[in-house]
């Protein structure tokens, strides 16, 4: 997490390119030119062209993120780095945040970017049905311009993490862009739209991009319904990169010398949720026992084909301030059994673990966990639900179910979204006074030492008694032809940062 003092001192000034070229990609001197053909997952039925709409397709999000800039983007050393905002500063009460827009930023048609454009775009985002979830605590009227290049966001409550909210969907368009002109509206991003058709697109280099030199002449994005088809396409040489293609494809490609497997750690979490509010897992000793009976190494090896890492029941593993000093929990069946018996857990019953096939490996994780639980005498039956049924009947309500999250580089993000008592997506129905207090302290404290201590408290309590069992983290996996360099190695949406890519 960024230290608040650093934030106050206008952090990340000038650092507008977000991902440094990864060392493994730095093969020789970057070359100019060439067209990158990249595949990304998406469904024809879910195509969304509105930058502020709900992006169901990775392919659409990739295209939008290349054409339009957000205020900030995910980074490597800091989880939030500047993009269209070059720096930001908070008031002492951490409610009012001032973002400075990059000086020489222009739209693809040459018009300069003004604070008015940014304000209009953020207000438009805020007024969508998901607006309240995307910019929580920031009312539309509290998004204002101060002069030509400063945007002021005022939160209803102190929020040291506010810049984090501006990373993924704050795409900036020209003020007053009509809804029917969205599909061809100029952006400020590293690439301009050449054409878009049925989920596929061609983008050409923006020579005036404010963020640095772009080397590719063009990017062609092809939408794929399935990972399997996308993997075939990269193996057959029809595309150069298969973005976020998954572990199964990686296993197939390991045998091929000409195709590189790129692993982006901490990409996807698939925790098991145990309801804390009531039911059989309400006793913290039972939850502790569940966390002790899981064989984490076996889960990573079998469920993720080894493309992942063991986790320690704290969500937000990619956070630079993730508490690595908290001892790793490992399998201890004796202790688990002792805790279960102390808590009076009924071992004669069979407990349902509800799961879906929404993402690869999720249902498999449930099945393997159920098998492991048997070693401690806990009988678990896996129940598969179709996605729609799951969200209607089980999510936020069930006693025991699997969930998944695709953005894992902020501990505070999970605390605010899923764990603080009043969180809208409190998946385990958790309410813990100490945790809430520690979380609020993080948001309200600007002193870096005190804040860091509070953040440690948040993670310690979460590790101890939250409703989550986080056994491991799946890597994000891309397949790339050997000639492609400078690909992003960040997890989650960091995968769309293709501005440093070059071909030899």
């Amino acid at each position: 997490m960024l230290a608040a003092a650093a934030l106050l001192a206008a952090c990340s000034g000038g650092d507008t390119t977000s991902s440094d070229p990864a060392p493994s990609n730095a093969a020789g001197q970057p070359k100019q030119g060439g067209t990158l053909r990249i595949g990304a997952l998406g469904r024809a039925s879910a195509i969304t062209r509105d930058p502020h709409g709900t992006q169901g397709n990775e392919s659409d999000y990739l295209i939008l993120a290349l054409v339009y800039d957000t205020l900030t983007v995910p980074g490597a050393d800091k989880n939030t780095v500047g993009r269209l905002a070059e720096s930001w500063q908070a008031s002492s009460d951490l409610k009012t945040w001032r973002f400075s827009i990059v000086k020489d930023a222009v739209f693809h048609d040459g018009a300069p970017v003004t604070a008015e454009d940014v304000v209009w775009s953020l207000r438009r985002l805020r007024s969508t049905p998901s607006g309240a979830a995307r910019l929580p605590g920031i009312q539309a009227k509290n998004i204002t311009a101060d002069g030509p290049s400063t945007v002021v966001l005022t939160s209803d409550y102190p929020n040291a993490e506010l810049p984090l909210l501006t990373r993924l969907t704050t795409f900036v368009l020209k003020k007053g862009t009509a809804d029917d002109a969205l599909e061809s509206a100029p952006g400020t991003g590293p690439f301009e739209l050449d054409w878009y058709r049925g989920g596929n697109a061609r983008l050409i280099r923006n020579d005036r991009w404010h963020g640095g030199t772009v080397r590719l002449d063009a990017i062609e994005v092809t939408m794929f319904e399935t990972s399997a088809a996308m993997a075939n396409a990269v193996l057959a040489g029809q595309i150069d990169v298969a973005s976020n293609v998954g572990a199964v494809a990686a296993r197939t490609a390991e045998a091929r010398k000409d195709v590189r497997v790129i692993r982006r750690p901490n990409d996807m979490s698939m925790p098991i949720v145990m309801r804390t509010a009531d039911g059989p897992f309400a006793d913290p000793r039972v939850r502790e026992a569940m966390r002790l009976l899981v064989d984490r190494d076996a889960m990573v090896k079998q469920v993720l084909s080894g493309y992942g890492t063991v986790a320690n029941d704290i969500l937000g593993t990619g956070d630079p301030d993730y508490a690595k000093n908290i001892p790793q929990r490992s399998r201890n069946l004796d202790k688990a059994k002792a805790l279960l018996s102390a808590a009076g857990f009924d071992l004669s019953k069979t407990y349902d673990l509800v799961t879906t096939e929404d993402i690869p490996g999720l249902a498999e994780s449930a099945t393997l966990f159920a098998a492991q639980a048997k070693d401690a005498g806990v009988k678990i039956q896996v129940v598969k639900q179709e996605s729609g049924a799951f969200y209607e009947k089980t999510w936020l309500k069930g006693d025991l179910y699997t969930t998944y999250w695709g953005t894992n580089d902020s501990v505070v993000f999970f605390a605010s979204k899923t764990m603080v008592s009043e969180a809208g997506q409190n998946e385990a129905g958790w309410s813990d006074t100490d945790f809430d207090a520690a979380y609020r302290k993080v948001l309200q404290t600007s002193d870096p030492g005190a804040r860091s201590a509070a953040l440690q408290d948040v993670q310690r309590i979460e590790h101890q008694r939250s409703g989550y069992l986080l056994w491991g983290m799946a890597d994000g996996i891309d397949l790339a032809d050997g000639k492609v360099h400078g690909l992003p190695e960040l997890p989650g949406y960091g995968r769309v940062q293709l501005e440093n890519v070059w071909l030899d």
Binding site: R197, G198, N200, E225, A229, A233, Q238, Y391
Partner: protein, 341 residues
């Protein structure tokens, strides 16, 4: 493989009967038009019933388009706003009526993602038509050729081999055929593109991208139709005029093509018509496997999005295409049967 309404014997017409038919030809043309009109009405009402079932079925699935297209954890107010935008706050009957009344003007409503359904279908539907029709034509040619070849020497080696192959081919699911094609033809040898990549026109970048999807659809359907052709020809072979032609010493291919085949056409046409429906069904699988941008992939996604207008839009287009094939088959049968009556 014989259909119920097919005449079992076809006596040669005596001369006076033929002249009577000529006099009544104007009346029988009117009757034919009435027949087609009646068939059309039946088919269209079937389509309307199908659409009502589509609306009801999507409604019965858990969740709705608002939750399916929302971001996870969207507030109740956000969901309510979304429901209102999508018209989901209206009763099902009202939504169906609104959608049906707009249909004759070519308006298929708005998808759950806020795009006009006609626009969503504009590229995928023609792509699927090209795929399915190519497969249909190939199926007709291949199954006629194989069926006739097998029938030329009943019980011979060729007949037995074709018979077994046809049965196995029909038993193969499309995805097995697809995998069996893609490994040798694309991944190992690079002869054909493994997947379809479209260009700025929304159509496949090269015709070679169609080869494997068409074959994956054609092979199982050819198996099915070869059996039908062979069966229909066997039925014909037992008829007196065909037997007589054989006994007259005419070559086997002449007997099959000139004497047996014409009588087998109604049965064959009915078999091909059934295939039209199965080709559209198979397209869902094949398009996904080859990343072919058609309505098959669209339909799968639309169902999981609870996107009723889009599901219904796909149903209308596919239903219309299948209806036309079925009608054509009915007309062919009427003409052939009528011409020989």
């Amino acid at each position: 493989m014989r259909t119920a309404d097919e005449p079992t014997a076809e006596p040669r017409l005596p001369a006076p009967e033929a002249s009577r038919r000529a006099r009544w030809s104007a009346t029988s043309a009117g009757a034919a038009i009435r027949d087609v009109a009646r068939l059309l009405i039946v088919r269209v009402s079937l389509l309307v019933t199908l659409l009502a079932i589509v609306f009801a079925a999507v409604e019965l699935l858990p969740g709705d388009a608002a939750t399916a297209t929302a971001e996870r954890g969207e507030s109740a107010a956000g969901l309510a706003a979304r429901r209102h935008l999508l018209g989901l706050d209206q009763p099902l009957w009202t939504r169906f009526a609104t959608w049906m009344t707009a249909l004759p003007s070519g308006n298929l409503g708005v998808s759950a993602r806020g795009r006009p359904v006609t626009e969503v279908l504009a590229d995928p539907f023609p792509n699927t038509l090209v795929l399915a029709l190519s497969a249909l034509v190939l199926t007709v040619l291949a199954s006629l050729a194989l069926g006739c070849w097998a029938a030329a020497r009943p019980g011979g080696l060729t007949d037995r081999v074709i018979g077994h192959l046809a049965t196995s081919a029909f038993a193969l699911p499309e995805y097995i055929v697809a995998i069996a094609l893609v490994l040798p033809l694309a991944l190992w040898t690079g002869l054909l593109p493994a997947v379809t990549v479209t260009d700025a026109t929304g159509a496949p970048g090269s015709w070679t991208m169609l080869v494997m999807p068409v074959l994956a659809l054609t092979i199982p359907q050819t198996g099915w139709n070869t059996r039908i052709v062979r069966g229909a020809l066997a039925d014909q072979a037992a008829l007196p005029h065909v037997e007589a032609a054989g006994l007259d010493g005419l070559p086997a291919h002449v007997v099959v093509l000139r004497h047996a085949l014409p009588g087998a056409v109604p049965t064959i046409a009915a078999g091909i018509a059934t295939s039209a429906g199965m080709l559209f069904g198979g397209a869902v699988v094949v398009e996904t496997l080859f990343n072919y941008p058609g309505v098959g992939t669209l339909l799968a996604g639309a169902v999981s999005d609870r996107d009723t207008p889009l599901v219904a839009g796909v149903a209308v287009c596919a239903g219309a295409a299948i209806t036309i094939v079925l009608l054509a088959s009915d007309v062919i049968r009427d003409v052939v049967v009528g011409g020989r009556r």
